[in-house]
């Protein structure tokens, strides 16, 4: 994958497939610690201990079209290639949390990419799943929460004008939080 935001989209699709009602995405960059942490946590159906043990193996998958599943192995490889680490926690009925840490300045760290388009694709797809994005760069925090947005607007995000505005808003806020740092 050419963007970490694409990994986020891919992993969050697992959450939607697991019937999550809330997907919490965390992106935290810390230039002091030279670390970038990405977390995708959902309240979906979760996995049992046996499947969890095998889930980072490319030959584990729930899909029926073929016998390989590469989403999680690729995300894990992206973290480990960039001097980082990967973890996944899950329990049946309790949801799943996937997290990866990257060395921020590692030469092989894939750029974050277009997180706005990833969130937009998830809003478009997951009309039943709420999305909460917490974006932190060197302590500056921005939270984008579809529950809050829907409460303020008094309805769903179902028209083009609203989605386009929200995309611009997200982009603007994340650029400000970046404070000139390229992630």
């Amino acid at each position: 994958m050419t963007e970490l935001a694409l990994h986020i989209l891919d992993i969050a699709h697992n959450s939607i497939a697991a019937k999550a009602t809330l997907i919490r995405i965390g992106v935290e960059a810390d230039s002091q610690k030279n670390a970038l942490r990405i977390t995708i946590a959902d309240d979906g159906c979760g996995m049992d201990a046996d499947f969890l043990k095998r889930v980072a193996d490319p030959f584990s998958t729930t899909r029926t079209t073929r016998r390989v599943g590469l989403g999680i192995p690729l995300f894990k490889a992206a973290a480990e290639t960039a001097g980082g680490s990967f973890a996944i926690e899950s329990a049946v009925g309790a949801g799943t949390t996937t997290s990866a840490v990257f060395r921020l300045d590692h030469i092989d760290r894939v750029p974050l990419g277009d997180l706005t388009e990833t969130v937009a694709a998830l809003i478009y797809e997951g009309q039943t799943a709420e999305i909460e994005l917490t974006y932190i760069v060197d302590g500056r925090t921005y939270v984008f929460d579809t529950r809050e947005i829907k409460a303020v607007l008094g309805g769903g995000i179902t028209d083009a004008v609203t989605l386009t505005y929200l995309k611009d808003m997200l982009r603007e806020n994340m650029t400000e939080i970046n404070g000139g740092l390229e992630i």
Partner: protein, 127 residues
């Protein structure tokens, strides 16, 4: 700075002119983008974005765009399937943003599928 308050004001001003997304059962076309790992890695997010943008800009109210998992022919990703009421499904392959816009213009607006971009065409050519 963009705010939710401003968005609310825009929505109030535009009340009645905003097109809500069509429901799947009341649309003439259903456009499905493959968004599994294979699709995403091949660029399906841009394809989806181009499709939704084009459909919104052209104010096409009879089209619904949705996402699906792996279609099973990963080497042809990004894949877009167009379902039209009462017709056979058309499977488009290697659909980047440009092809996505051409498919909206050609297939959905003008009603003529773009044969050269279809899976069936590619398979015939390979033989």
């Amino acid at each position: 700075m963009k705010t939710l308050e401003e968005l609310q004001a825009i929505r109030d001003r535009m009340k009645g002119q905003m097109n809500n997304r069509a429901a799947a059962d009341e649309s003439d076309y259903r456009v499905v983008v493959g968004m599994a790992t294979c699709g995403i890695a091949a660029g399906a997010r841009n394809t989806l974005s181009a499709l939704t943008q084009e459909i919104e800009q052209k104010r096409l109210e009879n089209v619904v765009v949705s996402q699906t998992g792996c279609i099973g022919i990963c080497k042809y990703e990004p894949i877009v399937e167009v379902f039209e009421q009462g017709k056979e499904k058309v499977t488009y392959i290697h659909v980047d943003a440009e092809r996505a816009r051409q498919i909206v213009a050609g297939h959905i607006i003008n009603g003529k599928p773009i044969t050269e971009y279809t899976y069936n065409y590619a398979v015939r050519e390979e033989k």
